[in-house]
Amino acid sequence: MATINLQISPLRPETAARNFIVEAGDPFVHEILKGQTVRIVDLEGNQAVDTLFFNAHDYADRYSAQDTIREQGNIYLTTGTRLISTEGNVLLTITADTCGRHDTLGGACAQESNMVRYAFEKRYMHACRQSFLRGIQHWKHGLEKRDITSNINFFMNVPVTPEGGLTFEDGVSEAGKYVELRAEMDVLMVISNCPQLNNPCNAYNPTPVQVLIWDEHVR
């Protein structure tokens, strides 16, 4: 079994500047300013939170899964992971993590990929890339489908084997687990709280998550 390191945060929820609940199947788009810390809480357990990050001042400069994986030499995200952009900037650093492992290879579900993976009649089930498109269309500022790149799946477990196998496994998360990130520059965060019902990424029961944001130097 792989090593899992857990890191608890000293930040207290009552000192957070902002506090949101994002229901399953909803997008959530918000700027996180340099120095602020954002926490995503898996309120009820085993809920995948598909997330994209952009440089808030240049959306062409955005989170890159491949650059992040290669620069840390590891496919799993956890405390200490620096989220690297396509231009080589550090967007955010994971500063606390009580889940221990997050995926960035599995991507986001889509109506079209559900048709391929499960059955043609899954087409009209809700999917993350529907939420991503809705989120960026409402945010405006010129974001479009080509800006939806390989995302992070917080709380999702997609192990890769030494032989090159890849599977979606039951989550390693549970109710109340959280991941926390410090913004190293002004970033735009785009979340789809995953509505997938066809695999165990949400334990077949998509549930709400909480997003907390602390200003710099607050404890």
Binding site: Y59, I75, A110, E112, S113, V116, P162, L166, F168
Partner: protein
């Protein structure tokens, strides 16, 4: 059965190549000298908003490596290319491309002024310039594949680059399942530990190939691919 090539070309190391590979043809890439790396990216030429989607490709086929029998999925559930031949056995879909900072850190700086066409180029800039020729740009470059390179993942998630993975004469063949804008770059793999900038050439050949049959190996690899081929064929109705 492969027909006489319609076209052949040698692409030097450190270079970028692009072509609209037509449905009904296949592109064979051969490692001319051994130790090649080919970063590759694919878009639907008719509708470039549809492009290679790495996560969809990996999860549909339950794989973190690519070889014969696998296909390359777009974000629309359709197949851009199928891998119909492969003498290497493992191509890397995880590590992404080299960039200017990485190449300078590993090999030192060699500008065009200093080295003319032996300058130190990188895959990211090469691919973005090439995308520019089609009216596309940095926002259009998503995750890529590295042909001829192998990177394994251990039980803790750590990456391990396999040196000397591809020998001279190794080849991989990509059959176009739609009209695909193919972009290739021959800069070194970003995890190649070598300290001398010596990117390797590849030979390309394009041939006519028959449409995939009902018992095609890529179609039959898994139920997901069978549905992926049907979705691709529906696109042409």
């Amino acid at each position: 059965m492969r027909s006489t090539p319609l076209y052949t070309e040698t692409v030097p190391g450190g270079s970028t190549w692009s072509h609209v590979l037509k449905r009904g043809t296949a592109l064979r890439i051969t490692d001319a000298a051994g130790g090649a790396n080919v970063a590759a990216y694919f878009l639907n030429f008719e509708m470039p908003a549809e492009r290679f989607n790495l996560p969809d490709t990996l999860k549909a086929q339950h794989t973190a490596r690519l070889t014969k029998g696998h296909v390359l999925y777009s974000d629309m559930g359709r197949i851009l290319c199928s891998i119909t031949e492969d003498s290497v056995g493992w191509h890397d879909p995880i590590s992404g491309v080299s960039n200017a900072a990485l190449i300078e850190k590993r090999y030192g700086k060699a500008t065009y002024q200093q080295a003319h066409n032996n300058w130190h180029q990188n895959a990211r800039d090469g691919l973005i310039i090439e995308l520019g020729k089609y009216g596309l740009g940095p926002r259009d470059l998503h995750a890529t594949v590295n042909f001829f390179s192998k990177v394994t993942v251990d039980n803790d998630g750590c990456l391990h680059y396999s040196p000397n993975h591809s020998r001279a004469g190794s080849c991989v063949e990509l059959r176009a399942e739609m009209n695909v804008l193919v972009l290739l770059n021959t800069c070194p793999h970003p995890l190649d530990p070598g300290d001398v900038y010596a990117p390797k050439p590849v030979e390309l050949s394009i041939s006519s190939v028959p449409a995939p049959r009902s018992d095609d190996a890529c179609r039959m690899l898994c139920p997901e691919n069978t549905r992926g081929f049907l979705m691709t064929e529906f696109y042409f109705l």
